[in-house]
Symmetry: C2
């Protein structure tokens, strides 16, 4: 589906540029300030990250060294996710570790860049780095891309509501 | 110094077999059961891990998915370390993530193997894997080897006391 059609469901561009990375790009029809808020204010995050599932944000210390922990209550059970912020540069860049309770001790390090496209739109670039190729491939095969597109569709709806 | 001289201070064998790993080997004059206990019982761990500095074990959930957090109170300040257990196979093998508060969001994944040498001695093999070569080199240059040898000397003393 075309990313240029407003209101249509967009899909994120997912690539694997090296043997331990996943690279994701997605454009949102909202200015960078608004997208940043949706990624960093817990009450907004809870409205899209869980793709319609209830999301409990147990911890969200938005600063270098701060911890985060989300618990998603879905039809298939309860899933916890957690990590720690490496870097937070407001409106520009966040780096954190990401670990799913189902694979404890297997973190990835995720970098998210917020690019102001200058026309009221924002490109969000996410890069995930894994310890091994096997761990990266496990994430790719987990249905991550579908889940991500569901989250981003929920984020589209939230951003429209925030305008 | 020779590892075969009882009572002498031994140094650990530290190598970098790949561009993202550190490999450490050290033999202890104690049976595997005793070495395992010294690594996994908080009141014993606290007597050697901090190299003589006060060590507060805030969390130590010894099972896959469990979290750990140690705080060392040294002459140069307070240092926190934490992570999560990936695997715990009693007396054989532990895998956990390791992160220093001073470099939050930069975990390594550490595998520790306990090898029964059959003569009352135990070889402890530690392998640390980093996300990048730079992170691995940063750890090597941090004085890790000296600190490790101090910890292991304290562990020698504890193991002798436990016999």
């Amino acid at each position: 589906m075309s990313g240029s059609v407003k209101g249509a469901t967009r899909t994120a561009k997912v690539t694997t540029p090296t043997d331990r990375e996943i690279h994701i790009e997605r454009i949102f029809d909202a200015p960078r300030d608004r997208v940043w808020r949706a990624f960093t204010e817990p009450e907004l995050l809870a409205q899209w990250w869980g793709r319609g599932n209830k999301l409990v944000i147990e911890r969200f210390e938005l600063k270098a060294g701060g911890h985060w922990r989300f618990v998603e209550h879905g039809p298939d059970g309860v899933h916890g996710f957690e990590g720690r912020f490496r870097e937070v540069t407001p409106k520009e860049r966040m780096v954190w570790t990401f670990e799913w309770d189902g694979m404890p001790g297997y973190p990835s390090v995720d970098t998210v860049l917020f690019e102001d496209l200058g026309d009221g739109r924002t490109k969000v670039i996410s890069k995930a780095l894994f310890f091994t190729t096997e761990e990266r491939d496990g994430m790719v095969q987990s249905g991550m891309e579908q889940g991500l597109n569901q989250s981003y569709a929920a984020l589209d709806a939230l951003l429209a509501k925030m305008s």
